[in-house]
Protein backbone atom coordinates (compact mmCIF):
# COMPACT_ATOMS: atom_id res chain seq x y z
CA UNK A 1 0.00 0.00 0.00
CA UNK A 2 1.26 3.48 -0.88
CA UNK A 3 0.11 6.89 0.23
CA UNK A 4 0.57 10.56 -0.61
CA UNK A 5 2.91 11.98 2.06
CA UNK A 6 1.72 15.26 3.64
CA UNK A 7 3.89 17.68 5.60
CA UNK A 8 2.29 16.76 8.94
CA UNK A 9 3.50 13.18 8.44
CA UNK A 10 0.08 11.76 7.59
CA UNK A 11 -0.45 9.95 4.32
CA UNK A 12 -3.43 10.12 1.99
CA UNK A 13 -5.02 7.34 -0.05
CA UNK A 14 -6.43 9.83 -2.58
CA UNK A 15 -5.06 13.09 -3.99
CA UNK A 16 -8.25 15.13 -4.30
CA UNK A 17 -8.52 18.75 -5.40
CA UNK A 18 -11.24 20.23 -3.18
CA UNK A 19 -13.27 23.10 -4.63
CA UNK A 20 -14.88 24.75 -1.62
CA UNK A 21 -17.81 27.15 -1.60
CA UNK A 22 -17.81 29.24 1.56
CA UNK A 23 -21.49 30.18 1.38
CA UNK A 24 -24.45 28.87 -0.63
CA UNK A 25 -24.24 32.00 -2.80
CA UNK A 26 -20.90 30.72 -4.15
CA UNK A 27 -22.00 27.13 -4.68
CA UNK A 28 -23.06 27.38 -8.29
CA UNK A 29 -19.76 28.90 -9.34
CA UNK A 30 -17.79 26.33 -7.34
CA UNK A 31 -19.85 23.47 -8.77
CA UNK A 32 -19.32 24.67 -12.33
CA UNK A 33 -15.57 24.87 -11.71
CA UNK A 34 -15.43 21.31 -10.39
CA UNK A 35 -17.91 19.63 -12.73
CA UNK A 36 -15.75 19.06 -15.85
CA UNK A 37 -13.08 17.45 -13.64
CA UNK A 38 -15.47 15.48 -11.43
CA UNK A 39 -14.17 12.12 -12.61
CA UNK A 40 -10.55 13.19 -12.27
CA UNK A 41 -10.53 13.72 -8.52
CA UNK A 42 -11.91 17.26 -8.31
CA UNK A 43 -14.54 17.28 -5.55
CA UNK A 44 -17.04 19.91 -4.45
CA UNK A 45 -17.48 20.60 -0.72
CA UNK A 46 -18.71 23.64 1.12
CA UNK A 47 -20.66 25.34 3.86
CA UNK A 48 -23.98 26.97 2.99
CA UNK A 49 -24.45 29.31 5.93
CA UNK A 50 -23.58 33.00 5.82
CA UNK A 51 -23.14 33.26 9.59
CA UNK A 52 -19.79 32.17 11.03
CA UNK A 53 -19.63 29.05 13.21
CA UNK A 54 -16.56 27.76 15.04
CA UNK A 55 -17.51 24.10 14.48
CA UNK A 56 -17.99 24.53 10.73
CA UNK A 57 -14.72 26.48 10.43
CA UNK A 58 -12.84 23.81 12.41
CA UNK A 59 -14.31 20.95 10.39
CA UNK A 60 -13.56 22.77 7.12
CA UNK A 61 -9.93 23.33 8.14
CA UNK A 62 -9.58 19.64 8.95
CA UNK A 63 -11.15 18.68 5.64
CA UNK A 64 -9.03 21.07 3.58
CA UNK A 65 -5.90 19.69 5.25
CA UNK A 66 -7.17 16.09 5.19
CA UNK A 67 -4.49 13.63 4.05
CA UNK A 68 -6.66 12.66 1.03
CA UNK A 69 -6.66 16.30 -0.18
CA UNK A 70 -3.85 17.48 -2.43
CA UNK A 71 -4.98 21.02 -3.28
CA UNK A 72 -7.76 23.45 -2.37
CA UNK A 73 -9.61 26.16 -4.26
CA UNK A 74 -11.78 28.38 -2.06
CA UNK A 75 -14.72 30.10 -3.73
CA UNK A 76 -16.12 33.05 -1.81
CA UNK A 77 -18.91 35.43 -2.73
CA UNK A 78 -17.02 38.05 -0.75
CA UNK A 79 -19.36 39.19 1.99
CA UNK A 80 -20.08 35.92 3.88
CA UNK A 81 -19.00 35.34 7.47
CA UNK A 82 -16.66 32.43 6.84
CA UNK A 83 -13.04 33.22 7.73
CA UNK A 84 -11.58 32.59 4.28
CA UNK A 85 -8.24 34.16 5.18
CA UNK A 86 -7.67 31.83 8.14
CA UNK A 87 -8.71 28.82 6.08
CA UNK A 88 -6.36 29.72 3.22
CA UNK A 89 -3.47 30.21 5.66
CA UNK A 90 -4.15 26.80 7.23
CA UNK A 91 -4.12 25.06 3.84
CA UNK A 92 -0.94 26.86 2.76
CA UNK A 93 0.72 25.98 6.07
CA UNK A 94 -0.18 22.35 5.35
CA UNK A 95 1.88 22.56 2.16
CA UNK A 96 -0.94 22.18 -0.34
CA UNK A 97 -1.44 24.38 -3.41
CA UNK A 98 -4.27 26.75 -2.46
CA UNK A 99 -6.05 29.74 -3.89
CA UNK A 100 -9.08 31.87 -3.08
CA UNK A 101 -11.40 33.29 -5.72
CA UNK A 102 -13.75 36.04 -4.58
CA UNK A 103 -16.66 36.30 -7.00
CA UNK A 104 -17.37 39.96 -6.19
CA UNK A 105 -13.75 40.81 -7.11
CA UNK A 106 -13.36 38.41 -10.04
CA UNK A 107 -15.87 39.72 -12.54
CA UNK A 108 -18.86 37.62 -11.56
CA UNK A 109 -20.05 34.13 -12.41
CA UNK A 110 -18.54 33.46 -15.83
CA UNK A 111 -15.17 35.07 -15.19
CA UNK A 112 -14.77 33.30 -11.83
CA UNK A 113 -15.66 29.93 -13.37
CA UNK A 114 -13.06 30.49 -16.09
CA UNK A 115 -10.39 31.50 -13.57
CA UNK A 116 -11.24 28.55 -11.33
CA UNK A 117 -11.16 25.99 -14.13
CA UNK A 118 -7.79 27.30 -15.29
CA UNK A 119 -6.34 27.03 -11.80
CA UNK A 120 -7.75 23.55 -11.28
CA UNK A 121 -6.36 22.33 -14.63
CA UNK A 122 -2.92 23.68 -13.85
CA UNK A 123 -2.84 22.22 -10.33
CA UNK A 124 -4.28 18.89 -11.51
CA UNK A 125 -1.35 18.52 -13.92
CA UNK A 126 1.10 19.35 -11.13
CA UNK A 127 -0.48 16.83 -8.71
CA UNK A 128 0.21 13.96 -11.11
CA UNK A 129 3.80 14.02 -9.88
CA UNK A 130 2.97 14.01 -6.15
CA UNK A 131 5.35 11.45 -4.69
CA UNK A 132 3.89 8.28 -3.16
CA UNK A 133 5.52 6.51 -0.25
CA UNK A 134 5.03 3.21 1.56
CA UNK A 135 2.03 3.27 3.90
CA UNK A 136 1.12 0.73 6.57
CA UNK A 137 -2.22 -0.34 7.99
CA UNK A 138 -1.22 1.34 11.27
CA UNK A 139 -1.34 4.68 9.45
CA UNK A 140 -4.98 4.24 8.42
CA UNK A 141 -7.96 5.91 10.06
CA UNK A 142 -11.19 4.08 9.23
CA UNK A 143 -14.66 5.34 10.13
CA UNK A 144 -17.98 3.55 10.13
CA UNK A 145 -21.55 4.71 9.78
CA UNK A 146 -24.84 2.92 9.27
CA UNK A 147 -27.75 4.29 7.30
CA UNK A 148 -31.00 3.02 5.93
CA UNK A 149 -30.83 0.44 8.69
CA UNK A 150 -33.22 -2.44 8.99
CA UNK A 151 -33.36 -5.46 11.25
CA UNK A 152 -30.74 -7.27 9.15
CA UNK A 153 -28.15 -4.49 9.70
CA UNK A 154 -27.50 -5.58 13.25
CA UNK A 155 -27.34 -9.26 12.27
CA UNK A 156 -24.93 -9.22 9.33
CA UNK A 157 -23.18 -6.06 8.10
CA UNK A 158 -22.75 -4.32 11.45
CA UNK A 159 -21.20 -7.24 13.37
CA UNK A 160 -19.08 -8.05 10.28
CA UNK A 161 -17.72 -4.48 10.35
CA UNK A 162 -17.08 -5.06 14.06
CA UNK A 163 -14.94 -8.09 13.18
CA UNK A 164 -13.09 -6.01 10.56
CA UNK A 165 -12.54 -3.21 13.09
CA UNK A 166 -11.05 -5.71 15.56
CA UNK A 167 -8.59 -6.93 12.93
CA UNK A 168 -7.63 -3.44 11.72
CA UNK A 169 -7.12 -2.25 15.31
CA UNK A 170 -5.00 -5.33 16.06
CA UNK A 171 -2.75 -4.23 13.21
CA UNK A 172 -2.48 -0.72 14.67
CA UNK A 173 -5.10 1.23 12.72
CA UNK A 174 -7.41 3.82 14.30
CA UNK A 175 -11.11 3.05 13.94
CA UNK A 176 -13.95 5.46 14.69
CA UNK A 177 -17.60 4.69 15.33
CA UNK A 178 -20.14 7.40 16.04
CA UNK A 179 -23.63 8.77 16.41
CA UNK A 180 -24.23 8.77 20.14
CA UNK A 181 -27.93 9.29 19.40
CA UNK A 182 -27.92 5.81 17.85
CA UNK A 183 -26.15 4.31 20.85
CA UNK A 184 -28.91 5.15 23.31
CA UNK A 185 -29.29 2.08 25.51
CA UNK A 186 -25.70 0.90 24.93
CA UNK A 187 -24.01 3.44 27.20
CA UNK A 188 -23.27 1.10 30.10
CA UNK A 189 -21.94 -1.65 27.84
CA UNK A 190 -19.65 0.94 26.20
CA UNK A 191 -18.50 2.30 29.56
CA UNK A 192 -17.38 -1.20 30.57
CA UNK A 193 -15.17 -1.32 27.44
CA UNK A 194 -13.53 2.07 28.09
CA UNK A 195 -9.81 2.00 28.89
CA UNK A 196 -10.42 4.05 32.03
CA UNK A 197 -13.32 4.45 34.45
CA UNK A 198 -13.39 8.19 33.91
CA UNK A 199 -13.62 7.70 30.13
CA UNK A 200 -16.53 5.34 30.82
CA UNK A 201 -18.30 8.10 32.78
CA UNK A 202 -17.68 10.55 29.92
CA UNK A 203 -19.25 8.09 27.46
CA UNK A 204 -22.34 7.67 29.66
CA UNK A 205 -22.67 11.47 29.87
CA UNK A 206 -22.29 11.84 26.10
CA UNK A 207 -25.14 9.38 25.45
CA UNK A 208 -27.29 11.04 28.13
CA UNK A 209 -26.74 14.35 26.31
CA UNK A 210 -27.86 12.74 23.02
CA UNK A 211 -30.98 11.31 24.67
CA UNK A 212 -31.84 14.75 26.14
CA UNK A 213 -31.42 16.46 22.78
CA UNK A 214 -33.50 13.93 20.85
CA UNK A 215 -36.16 14.02 23.57
CA UNK A 216 -36.43 17.78 23.17
CA UNK A 217 -36.61 17.41 19.38
CA UNK A 218 -39.55 15.01 19.63
CA UNK A 219 -38.18 11.71 18.38
CA UNK A 220 -35.00 9.72 18.12
CA UNK A 221 -32.61 9.18 15.27
CA UNK A 222 -35.09 6.81 13.72
CA UNK A 223 -36.51 6.96 10.20
CA UNK A 224 -39.82 5.43 9.05
CA UNK A 225 -37.86 2.93 6.94
CA UNK A 226 -36.19 1.60 10.06
CA UNK A 227 -39.60 0.54 11.38
CA UNK A 228 -40.67 -0.90 8.03
CA UNK A 229 -37.47 -2.91 8.14
CA UNK A 230 -38.42 -4.48 11.47
CA UNK A 231 -36.75 -2.19 13.98
CA UNK A 232 -39.27 -1.19 16.64
CA UNK A 233 -37.43 1.11 19.05
CA UNK A 234 -34.35 3.32 19.19
CA UNK A 235 -32.80 0.89 21.72
CA UNK A 236 -33.15 -1.95 19.23
CA UNK A 237 -31.64 0.14 16.44
CA UNK A 238 -28.85 1.19 18.81
CA UNK A 239 -27.93 -2.36 19.79
CA UNK A 240 -27.66 -3.30 16.13
CA UNK A 241 -25.63 -0.18 15.31
CA UNK A 242 -23.37 -0.78 18.30
CA UNK A 243 -22.20 -4.10 16.77
CA UNK A 244 -20.11 -2.05 14.30
CA UNK A 245 -17.70 -1.20 17.12
CA UNK A 246 -16.47 -4.78 17.47
CA UNK A 247 -14.94 -5.89 20.74
CA UNK A 248 -11.78 -3.81 21.14
CA UNK A 249 -11.35 -1.59 24.22
CA UNK A 250 -12.60 1.99 23.66
CA UNK A 251 -9.50 4.22 23.71
CA UNK A 252 -11.14 7.61 23.55
CA UNK A 253 -14.18 9.83 23.14
CA UNK A 254 -13.58 12.47 20.46
CA UNK A 255 -15.56 15.27 18.83
CA UNK A 256 -15.67 16.40 15.18
CA UNK A 257 -12.19 17.65 14.23
CA UNK A 258 -10.29 15.63 16.84
CA UNK A 259 -7.88 13.25 15.11
CA UNK A 260 -7.12 10.01 17.02
CA UNK A 261 -3.61 10.37 18.46
CA UNK A 262 -2.75 6.71 17.88
CA UNK A 263 -4.31 3.42 16.84
CA UNK A 264 -7.30 1.98 18.67
CA UNK A 265 -11.07 2.34 18.82
CA UNK A 266 -12.64 5.78 19.25
CA UNK A 267 -16.22 6.91 19.80
CA UNK A 268 -17.12 10.15 18.01
CA UNK A 269 -19.61 12.36 19.88
CA UNK A 270 -21.59 14.19 17.20
CA UNK A 271 -24.20 15.91 19.38
CA UNK A 272 -23.72 19.62 20.11
CA UNK A 273 -22.91 20.67 23.67
CA UNK A 274 -24.85 23.20 25.70
CA UNK A 275 -28.52 24.04 25.33
CA UNK A 276 -30.37 22.76 22.27
CA UNK A 277 -29.65 24.95 19.25
CA UNK A 278 -29.16 24.49 15.52
CA UNK A 279 -31.70 21.63 15.43
CA UNK A 280 -31.08 17.98 14.68
CA UNK A 281 -27.56 16.78 15.46
CA UNK A 282 -27.14 14.99 12.13
CA UNK A 283 -29.66 15.76 9.46
CA UNK A 284 -28.54 12.86 7.24
CA UNK A 285 -25.84 10.20 6.87
CA UNK A 286 -23.45 12.43 4.92
CA UNK A 287 -23.33 14.89 7.82
CA UNK A 288 -21.88 12.03 9.88
CA UNK A 289 -19.44 11.06 7.13
CA UNK A 290 -18.19 14.67 6.93
CA UNK A 291 -17.47 14.62 10.65
CA UNK A 292 -15.70 11.25 10.45
CA UNK A 293 -13.51 12.74 7.72
CA UNK A 294 -12.85 15.78 9.94
CA UNK A 295 -11.37 13.27 12.40
CA UNK A 296 -9.01 12.08 9.69
CA UNK A 297 -10.94 9.07 8.36
CA UNK A 298 -9.27 7.94 5.12
CA UNK A 299 -12.27 5.83 4.23
CA UNK A 300 -15.66 5.00 5.63
CA UNK A 301 -17.42 1.65 6.01
CA UNK A 302 -21.13 2.28 5.41
CA UNK A 303 -23.52 -0.50 6.38
CA UNK A 304 -27.09 -0.49 5.09
CA UNK A 305 -30.08 -2.80 5.18
CA UNK A 306 -32.73 -0.81 3.33
CA UNK A 307 -30.12 0.32 0.85
CA UNK A 308 -28.32 3.62 0.49
CA UNK A 309 -26.54 4.75 -2.66
CA UNK A 310 -24.41 7.62 -1.33
CA UNK A 311 -20.67 8.04 -1.32
CA UNK A 312 -18.74 11.10 -0.26
CA UNK A 313 -16.36 13.77 -1.41
CA UNK A 314 -12.75 13.37 -0.22
CA UNK A 315 -12.86 9.89 1.38
CA UNK A 316 -14.00 6.70 -0.37
CA UNK A 317 -17.10 5.04 1.07
CA UNK A 318 -17.41 1.25 1.05
CA UNK A 319 -21.02 0.11 1.19
CA UNK A 320 -21.70 -3.16 2.94
CA UNK A 321 -25.21 -4.41 2.33
CA UNK A 322 -26.82 -6.23 5.24
CA UNK A 323 -29.98 -7.43 3.54
CA UNK A 324 -29.74 -10.05 0.75
CA UNK A 325 -33.03 -8.88 -0.82
CA UNK A 326 -31.77 -5.28 -0.96
CA UNK A 327 -28.49 -6.46 -2.46
CA UNK A 328 -30.33 -8.10 -5.33
CA UNK A 329 -32.03 -4.78 -6.13
CA UNK A 330 -29.05 -2.46 -5.59
CA UNK A 331 -26.03 -4.67 -6.36
CA UNK A 332 -24.39 -1.99 -8.56
CA UNK A 333 -24.34 0.40 -5.65
CA UNK A 334 -22.89 -2.06 -3.16
CA UNK A 335 -19.31 -3.13 -2.50
CA UNK A 336 -20.12 -6.24 -0.48
CA UNK A 337 -23.12 -8.48 0.19
CA UNK A 338 -23.08 -9.26 3.91
CA UNK A 339 -26.64 -10.58 3.50
CA UNK A 340 -25.04 -13.91 2.51
CA UNK A 341 -24.64 -14.45 6.26
CA UNK A 342 -28.42 -14.51 6.68
CA UNK A 343 -28.71 -17.06 3.87
CA UNK A 344 -26.10 -19.31 5.47
CA UNK A 345 -23.67 -18.71 2.57
CA UNK A 346 -20.97 -16.95 4.61
CA UNK A 347 -19.98 -16.45 8.23
CA UNK A 348 -19.44 -13.19 10.11
CA UNK A 349 -15.71 -13.94 10.26
CA UNK A 350 -15.52 -14.53 6.51
CA UNK A 351 -17.31 -11.28 5.71
CA UNK A 352 -15.18 -9.48 8.30
CA UNK A 353 -12.06 -10.66 6.45
CA UNK A 354 -13.56 -9.60 3.12
CA UNK A 355 -14.14 -6.12 4.54
CA UNK A 356 -10.51 -5.87 5.65
CA UNK A 357 -9.40 -6.95 2.16
CA UNK A 358 -11.67 -4.31 0.61
CA UNK A 359 -10.27 -1.65 2.93
CA UNK A 360 -6.73 -2.49 1.84
CA UNK A 361 -7.67 -2.60 -1.87
CA UNK A 362 -9.49 0.73 -1.59
CA UNK A 363 -6.59 2.28 0.30
CA UNK A 364 -4.39 0.97 -2.52
CA UNK A 365 -6.41 2.96 -5.04
CA UNK A 366 -9.17 0.63 -6.22
CA UNK A 367 -12.37 2.64 -6.74
CA UNK A 368 -15.44 1.87 -4.63
CA UNK A 369 -18.91 1.46 -6.14
CA UNK A 370 -19.88 5.01 -5.19
CA UNK A 371 -16.64 6.40 -6.65
CA UNK A 372 -17.30 4.56 -9.93
CA UNK A 373 -20.82 6.01 -10.01
CA UNK A 374 -19.61 9.56 -9.35
CA UNK A 375 -21.10 10.00 -5.88
CA UNK A 376 -19.50 12.91 -4.01
CA UNK A 377 -22.17 13.92 -1.49
CA UNK A 378 -21.21 16.44 1.15
CA UNK A 379 -22.98 18.43 3.84
CA UNK A 380 -21.75 20.45 6.80
CA UNK A 381 -24.09 22.01 9.33
CA UNK A 382 -24.08 24.42 12.26
CA UNK A 383 -23.11 22.93 15.64
CA UNK A 384 -21.42 23.99 18.83
CA UNK A 385 -18.91 21.97 20.86
CA UNK A 386 -16.83 22.42 23.96
CA UNK A 387 -13.31 21.02 23.59
CA UNK A 388 -12.84 17.50 24.97
CA UNK A 389 -11.14 17.18 28.36
CA UNK A 390 -8.10 15.03 29.21
CA UNK A 391 -10.35 12.24 30.56
CA UNK A 392 -11.63 11.65 27.02
CA UNK A 393 -8.21 10.59 25.71
CA UNK A 394 -6.48 8.69 28.54
CA UNK A 395 -2.71 8.26 28.09
CA UNK A 396 -1.79 4.68 27.30
Amino acid sequence: MQGFLRNDGRKGIRNVIAVVYLVECARHVAREIALPMRDRGVHLIGFSGCFPNAHAERVMRRLCTHPNVGAVLLVSLGCEGFDRHGLLEAVEAAGRPARTLVIQESGGTAATIDAGRAWVAEVHARLQSTPRVEMGVQELVVGTVCGGSDATSGLTANPAVGRAFDRLIDEGAAAIFEETGELIGCEHAMARRAVSEELGRQIIQAVAKAARVYDALGHGSFAPGNAEGGLTTIEEKSLGAYCKSGSSPISGLIKPGDVPPRGGLYLLDVVSDGPLRFGFPNICDNAEIAELMACGAHLVLFTTGRGTVVGSAISPVLKICANPDTYRVLADDMDLNAGRILEGRATLDEVGREIVDLVLQTAGGAPTASERLGHQEFILTYKWFEPIGPACLPAV
Binding site: G218, H219, G230, I234
Partner: protein, 106 residues
Protein backbone atom coordinates in the same frame (compact mmCIF):
# COMPACT_ATOMS: atom_id res chain seq x y z
CA UNK B 1 -32.64 -23.00 19.21
CA UNK B 2 -35.81 -24.60 18.14
CA UNK B 3 -36.52 -23.72 14.54
CA UNK B 4 -33.91 -22.96 11.86
CA UNK B 5 -36.03 -20.07 10.57
CA UNK B 6 -35.81 -18.37 13.97
CA UNK B 7 -32.68 -16.76 15.33
CA UNK B 8 -32.31 -16.11 19.07
CA UNK B 9 -29.40 -13.69 19.38
CA UNK B 10 -28.79 -14.16 23.11
CA UNK B 11 -29.86 -16.82 25.63
CA UNK B 12 -31.55 -14.06 27.68
CA UNK B 13 -33.76 -12.93 24.80
CA UNK B 14 -37.53 -13.42 24.93
CA UNK B 15 -37.82 -12.75 21.20
CA UNK B 16 -36.39 -14.35 18.07
CA UNK B 17 -35.67 -12.91 14.63
CA UNK B 18 -37.13 -14.45 11.47
CA UNK B 19 -34.31 -15.30 9.05
CA UNK B 20 -36.87 -15.56 6.24
CA UNK B 21 -40.39 -14.20 5.82
CA UNK B 22 -42.91 -16.34 7.72
CA UNK B 23 -46.57 -16.25 6.66
CA UNK B 24 -49.60 -16.05 8.95
CA UNK B 25 -50.91 -19.55 9.58
CA UNK B 26 -47.48 -21.08 9.14
CA UNK B 27 -46.25 -23.38 11.92
CA UNK B 28 -42.93 -22.84 13.65
CA UNK B 29 -41.30 -24.72 16.52
CA UNK B 30 -40.84 -22.73 19.71
CA UNK B 31 -39.44 -24.44 22.78
CA UNK B 32 -40.01 -27.83 21.15
CA UNK B 33 -43.71 -27.18 20.53
CA UNK B 34 -45.45 -26.26 17.27
CA UNK B 35 -46.97 -22.78 17.23
CA UNK B 36 -49.23 -21.46 14.46
CA UNK B 37 -48.29 -17.88 13.64
CA UNK B 38 -51.20 -15.43 13.92
CA UNK B 39 -49.41 -12.80 11.80
CA UNK B 40 -46.93 -12.54 8.96
CA UNK B 41 -43.36 -11.95 10.19
CA UNK B 42 -41.08 -10.47 7.48
CA UNK B 43 -37.38 -11.26 7.29
CA UNK B 44 -35.50 -9.67 10.17
CA UNK B 45 -38.64 -8.89 12.16
CA UNK B 46 -39.35 -10.32 15.62
CA UNK B 47 -41.70 -12.75 17.28
CA UNK B 48 -42.18 -13.75 20.93
CA UNK B 49 -40.61 -16.95 22.25
CA UNK B 50 -42.36 -16.90 25.64
CA UNK B 51 -45.38 -15.15 27.15
CA UNK B 52 -44.55 -11.48 27.79
CA UNK B 53 -46.85 -9.51 30.10
CA UNK B 54 -47.82 -5.87 29.48
CA UNK B 55 -45.10 -3.67 30.97
CA UNK B 56 -42.48 -6.40 30.86
CA UNK B 57 -39.13 -5.71 29.12
CA UNK B 58 -38.60 -7.16 25.67
CA UNK B 59 -35.01 -8.38 25.26
CA UNK B 60 -32.92 -8.77 22.08
CA UNK B 61 -29.09 -8.95 21.85
CA UNK B 62 -29.34 -9.75 25.59
CA UNK B 63 -30.54 -6.21 26.31
CA UNK B 64 -33.88 -4.48 26.80
CA UNK B 65 -35.20 -2.91 23.59
CA UNK B 66 -38.33 -1.47 25.26
CA UNK B 67 -41.47 -2.52 27.13
CA UNK B 68 -44.49 -4.54 26.02
CA UNK B 69 -47.65 -2.40 25.75
CA UNK B 70 -50.00 -5.41 26.01
CA UNK B 71 -49.85 -9.10 26.86
CA UNK B 72 -47.94 -11.03 24.18
CA UNK B 73 -48.18 -14.77 23.50
CA UNK B 74 -45.45 -17.07 22.12
CA UNK B 75 -45.40 -16.78 18.32
CA UNK B 76 -46.95 -13.28 18.29
CA UNK B 77 -45.41 -10.76 15.93
CA UNK B 78 -43.65 -8.02 17.92
CA UNK B 79 -43.44 -4.51 16.51
CA UNK B 80 -44.71 -0.99 17.17
CA UNK B 81 -48.25 -2.25 17.96
CA UNK B 82 -47.15 -4.04 21.13
CA UNK B 83 -43.67 -2.73 21.99
CA UNK B 84 -42.58 0.81 22.88
CA UNK B 85 -39.23 2.42 23.58
CA UNK B 86 -38.23 3.24 27.15
CA UNK B 87 -36.41 6.30 25.79
CA UNK B 88 -38.04 7.98 22.79
CA UNK B 89 -41.20 7.41 20.72
CA UNK B 90 -40.78 5.68 17.38
CA UNK B 91 -41.59 7.71 14.29
CA UNK B 92 -43.50 6.09 11.42
CA UNK B 93 -45.40 7.51 8.45
CA UNK B 94 -48.81 6.37 9.77
CA UNK B 95 -49.53 9.78 11.31
CA UNK B 96 -49.46 8.64 14.93
CA UNK B 97 -46.30 10.48 15.93
CA UNK B 98 -47.36 13.21 18.35
CA UNK B 99 -44.55 15.49 17.22
CA UNK B 100 -45.63 15.56 13.59
CA UNK B 101 -49.37 15.20 14.14
CA UNK B 102 -49.42 18.71 15.57
CA UNK B 103 -47.77 20.06 12.40
CA UNK B 104 -50.29 18.39 10.15
CA UNK B 105 -53.20 20.33 11.67
CA UNK B 106 -51.91 23.51 10.05
Amino acid sequence: MTDPRLLRLDPQDNVAVATTTLQAGESVTIGGRPVTLPDRVPTGHKLALVPIAAGEKVAKYGSAIGSATCDIRPGDYIHTHNLKSDYLPTYTLDGTNPYLREDRKH
